[in-house]
Assembly symmetry: C2
Amino acid sequence: MSPIVNRFPGVVRQLREARGWSQEELAERADLNRSYVGEIERGNAMPSLVTINKLASSFDLLPSFLLARCEQH
Amino acid sequence: MSPIVNRFPGVVRQLREARGWSQEELAERADLNRSYVGEIERGNAMPSLVTINKLASSFDLLPSFLLARCEQH
């Protein structure tokens, strides 16, 4: 799997925890199912462009910035 | 649908045509099914992070840059 795909789960978790949010709170803000957020953070679900955009805007980030975080070593 | 999701199909087509590639050639470079590339360009298929990454690397771009193109007005 490519680095960006491998890093995405950890970056979402980092951004969520940095804001002191539970998975439930992130799911609510991103209009996603709570268990799906858990699956994404465990790397068991592959987010679509819509989901990437929902997560990014709930973190108040541009989607490109969210992916750039996943491109950093 | 969000702007980035709306613009993604057109940006992929622009980047492909700028390189003079057919959909077939892009599909081959990106290790994707040709008809799926057509679906993406018509906005009928929602790409996953893996597909975004495959398309970006076939264009020799970072995925974050590909999304940034979709965030421009």
